[in-house]
Amino acid sequence: MLMEDVLEGDCLIVSLNEKRLDAVIAANFREALVARIDQGQRNIVLDMSHVSFMDSSGLGAVVYVLKHIGHDGRLRICGVTPGVMAVLKLTRMDRVLKTFETREAAIAA
């Protein structure tokens, strides 16, 4: 699984450089994000601009990360493609997950 971290101030930007966040990689993705949180990172922007498809397993992993970061942490998502937005709308999780068009907007929020 290809991921890239960039630290901007206290914000960790994690780019998932995969075309699909689905059942094939969902568990690895979840554990990779949880490891970053457990290492102390509480302010994360997840850049999904490379991800053209997400299924409910991938979404479940994102939800797990949201819970794991807790109320004192921040998880925002940027670069949401039509394929990712599709599952957010189908499940109505677009009401819960904070999404932004650009990385800059997510960092500034």
Binding site: R20, D22, A23, V24, F53, M54, D55, S56, S57, L59, G60, A61, V63, Y64, L66, K67, H71, P82, G83, M85, A86, V87, L90, T91, R92, M93, R95, V96
Partner: protein, 144 residues
């Protein structure tokens, strides 16, 4: 009226093959707009993953049969497996939407969303299980 030849696949019941099979089925869907195509891809993947994880529980050597037919009005999909499946009443009883309280983050669902996605994307969907064969039949119109 023109109808394509059906796409018939028999694939190993693995997550990687579910992914590849989804892409093959969705390659028939050039009459969908971008949003509908994404919805349909999600629904197909949800069912195939359900078969791999739950019907077969990742059993080695298990196979999934898939038939997809892109017709003039709709795409028809049939998926067969010979795993433990589920009772048809369980499929019928599953809600057609994902239900949760958006104000309670800690109770958000992390799983169990697949059947709701399938039911909300497909115009008609039927699941039956006879003589050891579990079969999902689903139809989605090109235009809603």
């Amino acid at each position: 009226m023109s109808t394509s030849e059906p796409l018939r696949l028999t694939v190993p019941a693995t997550l990687l093959d579910a992914r590849a099979a989804t892409e093959r089925v969705v390659s028939l869907c050039d009459r969908f707009n971008t949003e509908d195509r994404a919805d349909y891809a999600t629904a197909v993947m949800e069912w195939l993953v359900n078969v791999v994880k739950h019907s077969y529980s990742h059993a080695p050597g298990a196979q999934i049969k898939i038939c997809a037919l892109a017709g003039p009005e709709a795409i028809e999909l049939m998926v067969e497996d010979t795993g433990r499946g589920m009772a048809p009443w369980q499929f019928d009883a599953a809600p057609a939407e994902v239900r949760f309280d958006p104000t309670d983050v800690y109770k958000l669902p992390e799983s169990g969303m697949g059947l709701a996605i399938i039911k909300s994307v497909m115009d008609s969907v039927r699941y039956d299980s006879h003589s050891g064969v579990n079969r999902l039949t689903a139809v989605r119109r090109w235009q809603r």
